[in-house]
Amino acid sequence: MNRTLLLAACIAFAIVGLAPVAFMFARVGGDGLDALFTERTLTLLGRTAMLGLGAASTALVIGVPFGWLTARTDVFGAPVWRALGILPLVLPPLILAMSWAPMTSLRGGLATTLLLGIATFPLVALFTARAAERIDGRREEAALMAGGLRGVVRMELPLLWPSAAAAATFAFVFSVNDFAVPDYVSSIGPKYNVYADEVFATWRSSTDSARAVAAALPLVLLTLLALIPALELRRRTPLAAFDGDFRSPSRLRLGVWRLPALAFVTGVLALSVFAPLGRLVFESGGGARGFSIANMQASFGRAIELGRVNLQSSILYAAAAAVLCIPLAIVLGSALGRNARASRIATYALVLPIVVPAILFGIGNIATWNRPATGALYDSGWMVVILYVGRFAPFAVLAFAAGRAMLDPRIEEAARMAGAGPLRRLFCIVTPSLWPAILGGATLVYVFSMRELDAAIFVPSANGTVLFRLYNAVHFGRDDFVAALALLVTFFVVLPGLVWSTFARKRLEVLP
């Protein structure tokens, strides 16, 4: 690795990703920490941890079989189901909750857990699917010969586990930081409060921001604690190296299990995709008060008319963020896989922007960028892009680092022996071999950027994004307009991923 390049990337990431976090935590003093652990907050924290564990377990239980079945078996329509399985990740969880609430009487903690599990299962499914595709075909054939389908499952599960566990950790992170879904789902019946609410309430109830930042610390620690075992597990279990010798596994024949598998896969999709999307379509046409195609046309017309500019801005910002994350991912991701101890520490620094609550990251961006020297940038649309890059680049970096770790080291060594310098090796050998991982990481950044609002709300130009318009309308009960706009957003968020998975031969490697 070229040191200048690495240094430049580290500085860039430190500025966009870590500086906002650092500015916030620098405010915390001793007195802010005093009031942190009371019986009440500990109860909230404990409940939040349970919610996170429950949601992550739900995501695992659904995601592992879903990912494996759609990626590796001959279940009918597998590629289509696999592409559709990304959708719940794309829909803001509150929209999922809103479309679910009228359809079931389930409320409270259990409903929240299941809903967040369903909203995050695509992460586990994606990671599992990619890990399953990396198992050498010969290895699988050997297992098939020895113990049939059951043998394959028993051989592969331990290999899929690290990836699935890492994904479940991200599901945990998303779930414990969500405050809108628990609040919404427990609006009828006993209230189910979570710690993320405490962070917000403390911002309202504190005269100084130190206490408010301190209130976020337990949540950050909880998230980091969850990440440690997952990252360690992933590090210790390398999968098959990806080199010229790798044999792709062929799709497994399920035999009599084909029908139950299809039922499972479509059942999961019915819960997580068809029901909410169907509900949105229904609402866009007028909902319970009189569904009609004319209503639907009218609401889409209105959504396009009012939301068109916002949609354009959102796509522009999200795409710019995705593109800017690529060089960061290549350079930082490449460096991560090298020195074990240094990379372990670096990984924890890297995930900091993801694990801090959105409100902290957003306000941290004001503190970082709203200065005379960077004022023009702060006022421009670039600020939104910078915020997206700072918060979501870790996903792209981790995806690249994982791909890099899978790459047979001899591929790069051979280039070295051929006389290629560090830059040439990185950009001519390593990077082209990992294009799917790079595009996959960039797609994740795009998707998360498109649906991000909680942090971006604090910077000026985020007012022009489509999610902002959407939530404004949610408040004012414009159900048909909201539904139409939500469908439009969904379409534009999944568009790149859907196009890729429909037409490309290579899959997007969107997993570490």
Binding site: G244, D245, A414, A415, M417, A418, C428, W435
Partner: protein, 229 residues
């Protein structure tokens, strides 16, 4: 002049000494084979010469130039001008590059001009008989073809030193004989110094100048080659 000089070279990994300390001199234009059991340090020795072994210490000189002094890498691997054929048929081949592109890229790394690169790559493709699959990528090559591509890549820049890590491994007996003959011819024509790892000393005993036997990371025997060479 000696091609390789190793003085007090050892490699420590995970607190365990996996090679050395050893001293070794390999003369120019010679063919040395390294034999020994699995885990005896054969591949590590090649990697020390290449500069790829992490945790290596000692003095390494190539053709009179000091390339490693103690822990310090004086000349990095990419500037040592060594051809390296890794163990295993397709190992280390660049999965996204076709046969032709692999050779072109290798030549460009060596600073060969564009107009010359094409003709040199074509000649090498012809030499290793990969013309029919010049536009295929490693994943589309058979074991033997991949092996030939590895060799072509190592040779195309005309290195003075060729390191071979069990290049005959995946081949059957007849092909092995063929390859050894061809390598012998190449060695003479290119004035190559070859250091080759093998687990079967008999397959190359008629062509090598010396055979070096390693056990638990140490040189236990250094035999002259057979006289019929």
């Amino acid at each position: 002049m000696s091609a390789i000089e190793l003085a007090s070279v050892s490699v420590v990994a995970g607190g365990r000494t996996i090679l050395g300390p050893i001293d070794l001199t390999v003369s120019e234009h010679s063919w040395t084979s390294i034999v020994g059991r699995s885990g005896s340090g054969k591949t590590t020795l090649l990697r020390v010469v290449a500069g790829l072994a992490s945790g290596a210490t000692g003095r390494v000189s190539l053709f009179g130039t000091l390339v490693q002094d103690g822990r310090k890498i004086v000349v990095p691997p990419e500037r040592r001008g060594i051809g390296f054929v890794f163990q295993g048929g397709g190992a280390g081949l660049w999965p996204h590059m076709s046969v032709r592109r692999t050779l072109d890229f290798t030549l460009s790394c060596a600073g060969v001009a564009l107009r010359e690169r094409t003709s040199r790559a074509d000649s090498m493709i012809e030499l290793v008989q990969l013309g029919a699959c010049a536009d295929r990528k490693p994943g589309e090559l058979s074991g033997g073809e991949a092996q030939r591509l590895s060799l072509a890549r190592a040779l195309v820049v005309r290195p003075k030193l060729l390191l071979l890590d069990e290049p005959l491994g995946p081949l059957d007996a007849e092909l092995r004989g063929e390859l050894v003959e061809r390598l012998r011819e190449l060695q003479r024509s290119f004035a190559l110094t070859i250091l080759q790892v093998t687990h079967d000393p008999h397959e190359v005993e008629h062509v090598v100048d010396r055979t070096l036997r390693l056990e638990a990371g140490r040189i236990v025997a250094l035999d002259a080659g057979t006289p019929n060479r």
